[in-house]
Symmetry: C2
Subunit: 467 residues, 2 copies
């Protein structure tokens, strides 16, 4: 009996996941009088898809989410813009496009064609039955409207389109739905790159929690293995270590990569009792996460153009072997931290399958990374030979077993990516709430402020029921 | 009795206006068996707001509508793109921005700020009660979000915004509604500039009319002075010279500048019997036309960069005296006909009040035009002194008494410009139809293909009733 008791605890609200959505939900509940909450976090750290790297040389950069997007309407940005502890860089400086063959590609050569391909996708995509990939869209455009553009400019436009699509979504353009990927493209206002790291924002948020909440009520290493909502009154949330959290409401913020797992043998499988409604499970099964990787190259000194904000390396070929990438097979964006925060570093944005390949490297990891990136970096180098990096860091979002990717993208053939949002917003049981970056509509989807807004939304929902 | 008879004629459909809308309407009616139509044109020529200039040196350029806009969805363009008699230039080449102070302004310096101002307008404009001008929007943006941008870049962005707004709408940015002007901004696909002139397109269309229709059934110098629809059966359309055209349907394609005239003493006043319904008249009274002027400078030889498609001269000051313009007070776009059609000419796009001022010049017209434009052209000249033009031509859209402007723009404080479209589409009497470039929604509004589509739409409407 004693043992049974110790394995149970009662809570008004159990929040699953200590990322921005879960933390914001706890904040808003507490601010409105509901302090009887607990956050269960599967991993050994808070922050979810936020991860700030701080190097011995003082470079601060995010391996996960990096920007305040939608700066005009971003509620977090608008809250912290006068906060001296939060530092950001207005990411609107000059960009340089280049490729294996050209050291500088003027943007006018592809810009209007690129926009026309997107418009072509909208005209022929939305509302039509057929779905096709962004790569397929370019082929279709070429066949039907290619006659109006010289070959060299067209190839640049396709290259720029591949880069835009892949580094927006974190995956190869063959996987991305041309039908849905242009709808939410673009943000409301410029991007602000955190130079104090998203960790600084997370700390500010945590500061809004009740005293000692973090130490006492955020339970790390507490993976939820089952949610039982058979009882018409209480919901029982069971963690892997056998503790049962009995509650009135549960807010589920785990990534869809985890939520969609259907194999009970998967170590992160979440069991629902009764099982998730079939439409809900079917909706989740259509969600796909890309993996936008970051590779940080720290050098002794800057040897590239220090006033360029971003270097856009266009690919000159398609991958010949997905398992063994070669230089110039993937479009890459380099963020110039010399301009951003006066540190001689370049941060590469990568996509799948390249990002997963880089994560998988064990032996000679830095040598292999340098083999792939040295040709791209040497092309923007002012010195020869190209200096070797002092240190290389890279992200591992696909490998983190409780995350398994970075954010959802509109996958080809999987239908409208907003369909799942409708299911999540509505839920199938008043007591079971869903939050997280992928549970909001529009340009906040997949963003930190989207997660934040969703946590706030579910707190409001619960509060309205408690009244 | 004989005299009375000769003053009357009967027609199935009377079309008012021999512009693209009216001609297309007659074509579609004839193709579907309704040949008993007549077109009454107030002026002494067909084409309406189409006017192609052909100079002794062989330069062909339009003083009115110049582009196939929306090339991906433009039904006229898609019809003629293989027609060897129609020639066009894909207008997507390199553009050069410059000002009195800078010979070359890199676009990255203002592009993202410009886009952010537009996004700011959308966030704070649409759906809000208050309306303000585009100039006012920039002030508001500066006050609220100006802190994130260095002054020089902000001034460039405001200058680029002024240029975009004024040369899109043909009027000063103080007049333009920030609330409505960004909604329809942009086109679906690149712009195709007619190098054979819009006259060539008009000739192709006229070729689709029944034989001898143009000579026999397009009545020039036949201004309609009254439309009488008291009778429940026939509508009587009376021309200035006293002829009465009795018909089943009348298709009104006259510009809204004329349709809205409320002063019976105006020589172009159109009298309705019974009067236009008050909501209709009120809707029309809110429509404003700008006047996008063209000034053609023909030189002996090209002395500017021949590979630049357009030169964007940003203004460095606001007009000090609207009645006496000074150089650099108005943003101007120059189209480079050396690149476009291998002719040493520059065509300036101008806006009100400058365009109206230029139209008003009588004595020393060319001298005064050159006083205003020489400083802008000398800034892109590779030789000194700047060669004088051989010939100067300019448009006169505001002065043409049956037109009085170029196309409608969203005027500040006048409400949603689409409201009038709803009234026109619906009409107030089945027998009275409205067509013309301003009677269609979306990006075709104000365009030649919009006029064409509206003529086709009203033909279909009438045909569906005649069945």
């Amino acid at each position: 009996m004693e043992r049974h008791k110790s394995n149970h605890s009662n809570h008004k609200v159990v929040i699953i996941g200590a990322g921005m959505a879960g933390i914001k939900c706890a904040i808003d509940l507490a601010k409105n009088g509901v302090e009887d909450t607990i956050i269960l976090e599967a991993s050994d750290r808070i922050g979810g898809r936020l991860e700030t790297l701080k190097t011995p040389d003082g470079l601060v950069c995010d391996l996960g989410a990096s920007w305040f997007h939608d700066s005009l309407t971003n509620p977090i940005f608008n809250k912290v813009l006068d906060d001296k502890r939060i530092k950001y860089f207005v990411d609107d400086k000059e960009n340089l496009f280049y490729s294996e063959n050209e050291a500088k590609i003027d943007q006018w050569r592809f810009r209007e064609v690129l926009e026309e391909i997107m418009a072509y996708g909208e005209v022929h995509g939305i509302g039509s039955e057929k779905d096709y990939s962004v790569a397929g869209l370019c082929s279709m455009y070429d066949a039907n409207r290619g006659r109006f553009t010289a070959d060299d400019r067209k190839q640049l436009a396709f290259g720029a389109m591949r880069q835009l699509a892949e580094l927006w979504n974190g995956t190869h353009w063959d996987n991305i739905s041309a039908k849905y990927c242009f709808e939410g493209l673009g943000h409301t206002g410029r991007n602000m790159l955190l130079t104090s790291g998203y960790e600084s924002v997370l700390r500010e948020e945590i500061g809004e929690l009740p005293p000692n909440y973090e130490a006492g009520k955020i339970k790390l290493n507490s993976r939820v293995s089952a949610i039982n909502y058979e009882d018409t009154d209480k919901v029982k949330v069971e963690s892997e270590n056998g503790h049962v959290y009995v509650c009135d409401y549960v807010v589920v913020t785990v990534p869809h990569t985890i939520l969609k797992l259907s194999d009970p043998k998967d170590p992160c499988y979440l069991q629902w009792e009764p099982p998730l409604p079939p439409t809900f499970a079917a909706g989740l099964s259509k969600t796909e996460y890309g993996s936008l990787g970051k590779v940080v190259f720290e050098f002794d000194a800057c040897f590239w153009h220090e006033n360029i904000g971003r270097f856009y390396a266009l690919a000159t070929k398609e991958p010949s072997n997905m398992d063994l990438p070669q230089p110039w097979e993937y479009p890459i964006i380099f963020l110039n931290y010399q301009l951003i925060s006066n540190k001689p570093a370049l941060v590469a944005l990568t996509q799948e399958p390249l990002s997963t390949y880089l994560e998988s490297l064990v032996t000679s990891k830095e040598v292999e990374i340098w083999r792939l990136f040295e040709p791209l970096i040497s092309k923007i180098s002012h010195v020869s030979p190209t200096p070797r990096p002092k240190r290389i860091y890279n992200s591992s979002w696909r490998s983190k077993k409780h995350i398994r990717g970075t954010y959802a993208y509109p996958a080809r053939g999987k239908g409208d990516p907003e369909a799942i949002i409708t299911l999540l917003e509505k839920s199938f049981d008043t007591r079971i709430r869903f939050a997280g970056a992928e549970s909001v509509r529009g340009s906040a989807n997949g963003c930190v402020h989207g997660a934040w807004m969703s946590g706030s939304r579910e707190a409001q929902f619960i509060l309205s029921y408690l009244k």
